[in-house]
């Protein structure tokens, strides 16, 4: 019987621990256990058989950690030999036991962290897992059990690897800590959302904790999961006794807790580290007669990031709309120049202002949208823990983004056109996601709410045919601007309300379209937003940096009893109230901000001992971003931009740099100054551009952290300083192969290359890069820096300059580019 069918009928039992049993049979510490499948098949068959005789329905192959990284030819056995032998051992044990049982092909983590946190590429991980799955399936495994995953991203790679290489059922268990978190920070809610989205057949937890500690987490998982839940705990919490690991509970206690776990609703139970056939025998007995708890569809609409889940439901969700080039010349320029920093800034600012999800749209005719989309999603998810909304009409871009996304994304969008549904739904089915369904089809946008509901119904129905539930659809009833259609808002609001009331669906709107073509659009947007929320809008795509819109949102939640004790509202606006009160009090006293004022920034600038007499220079020297920005704006109204740069800003930067070299200024100050200068430079640049000019660049400098090294802080420090001094920095990032660095130097005839390395182990990469540079780009100078480097070391590898700190790199660049 197919295990999925069996799981519907009764509680199934997994086996227990493997490692300690193998050690008891003579496996040495440090020896690769997988090899025993070939060298000691009788030992494996015996262990599997003992578990079967104890009552296990599932034997797990001895393939934990067997992958092409560890079995790379040096072990004497290939992945293929080991996996095939392991499955055969399972089959032989089943034959000997005479029972009907299932062989679970065990897939454990690689032991590597995925990029960008570690050095294993996502697609490399998919390939490693896929290889094992393909071999195991071919040898006759009945299911794939992906287990002990403590990083959701690696779990995703494993599921894709399994599903793309075999048709077997896929079970996944992850390892939570005592706080209910994955090692990389995921929660039960984010894990369940992602795994269900990927279409696993069962999910749950193993290892890390004993059954006692798992109960609380299990309760949470059971409340969220629409698929059967697996629980394979350790034999309690471990402690070391005379160099041996022992567990804090005995077999009977374990079994009775497992009985409780089955009664709570777990449908597959077994054990992990420290558990033995004895534990499983008693567990099977303890579970006898327990009526399996039926598995219900939960119908939750939920998206997730690596760390958190966002539920789309009664409490409205804010989706930040700013990562979108439409109507934003600066954003377009950033995309063309491949300026990801700008995009990340937009993302971080929206998070700070209260967005729950970030829309990501990078569509621009002249760029390669699929590559850009993939890259932006990778970068955003590595620094921001909000779920993303992948916003594109390019199916290739959509798929690439969904594939690399670490979680369950929102997808924007599908519509009622057959072609659209045919393209988008298979992707949603494969990778998981909640998809925005636009209420339009081949005949355009219906004028009435009735028409839009009909399209929504059609989309729900077609989605169901692909196996996508209604909970994974949010309907966009579409906003038509009221300046061209006076009934636009009325129709949209009716449709929003009726999707909720008549179809039981969730809704989403790009709110600001409503005011297109009208003056002071914020007025209309805010009022319409409040009306839409009142009519049941579940998610709003807005600009969270807009104070007016967030006021509506927070007020609505307070009024609609969604904000307990108005806590969020008070937290957001109490500081504003306090500030106003203080200002009013100050005004009554006639205090207008002279010496002794509460505002240190202005006091510093206006005070008698401001070091240069210029507010701009003071702002830069003291590292006060806002003051520097304000001051430069004032100066630019009266003076020439280049004059401001050369007479005010550069001298200020020089003074800070000299202070740093002399030891009177320390590193954080230097960098805060650099950032204040950078903010001021932005403004000067805008002013120059507005008058058709441009700040002349002194030259191009390549910066990179060398291959093998994943530390980039030093390189980033150098970058910000060089940019302030007018250099165009070509930042290649970290872990950069020599060929890439030298290739760029040749392509752009770059005269200066800065290389950073932090570890002795990565210094040889630096040496290689310099050697290649000498060969292919003899005109280029190489400056090097990093914690382990010394002048002697730098000289010995042929570097032109050893930079002991960031200022040294600026000084060297000035020397190289002087007088050109």
């Amino acid at each position: 019987m197919d295990i999925r069918k069996a799981m519907e009928e009764r509680i199934l039992f997994c086996d227990g621990g493997m490692g300690s049993l193998l050690q008891a049979k003579g496996l040495k510490p440090g020896e690769l256990p997988g090899i025993w499948n070939i060298t000691h098949p009788e030992a494996l068959v015996e262990i599997h058989r003992e578990y079967l005789e104890a009552g296990a329905d599932i034997v797990t192959t001895n393939t934990f950690g067997v992958d092409g990284l560890k079995y790379n030819g040096q072990t004497g056995y290939s992945v293929e030999e080991v996996v095939r032998a392991a499955v055969r051992n399972g089959r032989e044990a089943i034959r000997q036991s005479g029972k009907e049982a299932y062989i679970a092909l065990d897939i454990g983590p690689t032991g590597k962290l995925l990029k960008p946190l570690g050095d294993l590429g996502f697609e490399d991980a998919v390939r490693l897992f896929g290889q094992v799955a393909a071999i195991g399936a071919d040898e006759g495994a009945d299911l794939v059990l992906i287990e002990t995953m403590s990083d959701s991203y690696e779990a995703k790679a494993a599921v894709l690897g399994a599903k793309e290489n075999c048709g077997l059922p896929v079970f996944v268990t992850v390892t939570f800590d005592e706080k209910g978190k994955l090692l990389t920070g995921g929660s039960p809610a984010s894990v369940v959302a992602m795994l269900e989205g990927l279409g696993v057949d069962a999910l749950g937890m193993n290892c890390g904790l004993g059954p006692m500690q798992m109960k609380g987490i299990l309760k949470e998982v059971l409340a969220l999961s629409s698929v059967p839940v697996i629980v394979n705990p350790n034999a309690g919490l471990p402690r070391s006794e005379n160099g041996k690991t022992v567990y804090d509970i005995d077999e009977d206690t374990f079994a009775s807790l497992m009985g409780e776990i089955a009664r709570m609703g777990a449908r597959v139970v077994g054990g992990c580290c420290g558990t033995t056939p004895g534990h499983i025998r008693r567990t099977v007995k303890a579970c006898q007669g327990i009526e399996p708890v039926p598995v219900h569809k939960k119908g939750r609409t939920v998206v997730s990031s690596f760390a958190q889940a966002v539920v789309i439901g009664r409490d409205p969700v804010i989706i930040g709309e700013r990562i979108n080039p439409t109507g934003k010349p600066k954003f377009k320029q950033a995309l063309r120049e491949h300026n990801l920093e700008y995009i990340l800034q937009e993302g971080a600012a929206q998070q700070d202002h209260g967005a729950h999800v970030l829309d990501v749209n990078v569509g621009l005719p002249e760029i390669d949208e699929p590559s850009m989309m993939e890259e932006v999603v990778r970068e955003l998810q590595s620094i921001i823990d909000l779920p993303l909304q992948i916003d594109t009409s390019d199916l290739d871009a959509m798929e690439r983004a969904m594939r690399v996304y670490n979680g369950k994304p929102l997808i924007n969008s599908v519509n009622g056109k057959e072609e659209s549904m045919r393209g988008v739904f298979p992707l949603v089915k494969k990778y998981g996601g909640v998809v925005v369904a636009l209420a339009l089809d081949e005949d355009g946008i219906p004028e009435t709410a009735d028409g839009r509901l009909k399209i929504a119904e059609k989309i729900y129905q077609r989605a169901a045919e692909y196996g996508i539930g209604a909970e994974d659809i949010v309907v966009d009833a579409l906003c038509m601007t009221i300046s061209s259609d006076s009934k636009g808002a009325v129709t949209t609001l009716e449709a929003v309300r009726r999707v909720r009331d008549e179809l039981g669906g969730k809704t989403i709107l790009g709110v600001s379209n409503i005011s297109f073509g009208l003056p002071v659009r914020e007025n209309i947007n805010a009022a319409f937003f409040a009306m839409a929320l009142q009519n049941g809008l579940s998610a709003a795509i807005i600009n969270p940096n807009s104070d007016g819109m967030m006021r509506v949102y927070r007020s609505f939640r307070a009024l609609w009893a969604l904000d307990e004790n108005c806590g969020d509202y008070i937290q957001a606006y109490a500081p504003e109230a306090a500030k106003k009160k203080a200002e009013a009090a100050a005004e009554r006293r006639g205090n207008t901000g002279g010496p002794g004022s509460a505002c240190p920034e202005t006091a510093a600038a206006a005070g008698p001992d401001a070091p240069t007499g210029s507010a701009l220079a003071a702002g830069i020297e003291r590292g006060l971003k806002e003051q520097a920005a304000r001051a430069v704006r004032e100066l630019l109204s009266a003076r020439d931009p280049m004059e401001v740069i050369n007479q005010e800003m550069i001298p200020a930067l020089d003074r800070v740099g000299k202070g740093f070299e002399a030891g009177t200024v320390f590193l954080p100050q230097l960098l805060m100054s650099a950032e204040a200068a950078k903010a001021a430079f932005e403004i000067v640049r805008e002013s120059l551009q507005a008058s058709g000019g441009e700040q002349e660049k002194k030259g191009e400098v390549i910066l990179a952290t060398v291959k093998g090294d994943i530390h980039d802080i030093g390189k980033n420090i150098v970058k910000v300083l060089l940019e302030n001094y007018g250099y165009e920095v070509l930042d290649l990032g970290k872990d950069v192969p020599p060929e890439k660095i030298v290739g760029l130097a040749v392509e752009r005839q770059v005269r200066l290359v800065g290389l950073s390395a932090l570890m002795t182990t990565t210094v040889p990469s630096m040496e290689k890069t310099i050697a290649l540079l000498r060969q292919k780009a003899p005109w280029a100078k190489a400056m090097v820096g990093g914690a382990v480097l010394t002048k002697e070391y730098a000289d010995s590898m042929g570097a032109d300059c050893y930079c002991r700190d960031a200022m040294a790199s600026v000084n060297y660049a000035e020397e190289i580019f002087k007088g050109q």
């Binding site: 032991g111 990083d151 990340l344 003291r622 590193l667 954080p668 980039d712």
Partner: protein
């Protein structure tokens, strides 16, 4: 160390050693402006939230013969370590980490604000050391009851203790599975705010109390105390 326990429970009030943060920032007694102080404080709060400190430790036999240090699961040669392990009969091998969320923070501000990234870098380094000290103190108390004294911890890469030993340490302690620390192909640890080390156990009270920087042979290091 009640404060440490409190931080484990609440995510607030980590027992910071401010001086260490400043040392990592290259502070040499300069006046610290208000906005830098504020930045340091903000970084401390962010780290208290993001860090998830975990450690794992196991005890092994130790024998030293002909300059080969044999810990049962790992054999190596290192004059510095040999000196550190004089009179020791057993050894603790341990790994500790602040977790990957700290790296997410470091990456975030590496892109968005390098001054904040630098302070986070320094504060997280100090945080990790304080956490290791806390762990060591607990083991010291435990072993003292059994008549063992702990030597200062010594990490691969200190002096001439080969970094290559990381491979064995990672394998025997199952660091990736148990605390989520992995080793890159170039032997860097990921998450970056992680430590592995060995601690000698001796029946003789500490003849050598040199610890951290002072125990290291690399006298040219910029961060040396």
């Amino acid at each position: 160390m009640d404060k440490m326990e409190q931080w484990f429970g609440t995510g607030e009030g980590f027992p910071w050693e401010e001086k260490e943060i400043l040392r990592y920032l290259g502070h040499r007694g300069q006046e610290i402006p208000e906005n830098v102080k504020q930045l340091i404080g903000e970084c401390q709060r962010e780290l208290e939230n993001a860090a998830a400190a975990r450690s794992v430790c196991a005890e092994y036999p130790l024998a030293i013969q002909d300059h080969v240090i044999d810990m049962g699961v790992l054999q190596t040669k290192s004059r510095n370590l040999e000196k550190n392990l004089r009179d020791c009969g057993r050894i603790l091998i341990f790994g500790a980490t602040l977790g990957s969320r700290v790296d997410v923070l470091l990456k975030r501000y590496g892109q968005l604000s390098v001054s904040r990234a630098v302070v986070l870098q320094a504060a997280s380094a100090a945080m990790l050391e304080t956490y290791c000290d806390y762990c060591n103190e607990a083991w010291r108390e435990e072993y003292q009851k059994k008549g063992w004294y702990l030597r200062p911890r010594f990490s691969p890469g200190y002096g001439d203790f080969p970094l290559e030993c990381q491979k064995e340490i990672f394998a025997v302690l199952e660091l990736s599975k148990r605390i989520g620390v992995t080793l890159t192909d170039s032997l860097l640890m990921a998450p970056s705010k992680s430590v592995t080390a060995v601690i000698g156990l001796s029946k003789k009270p500490g003849t050598c109390s040199v610890q951290g920087c002072e125990a290291c042979g690399k006298i040219s290091c910029e961060y040396r105390r």
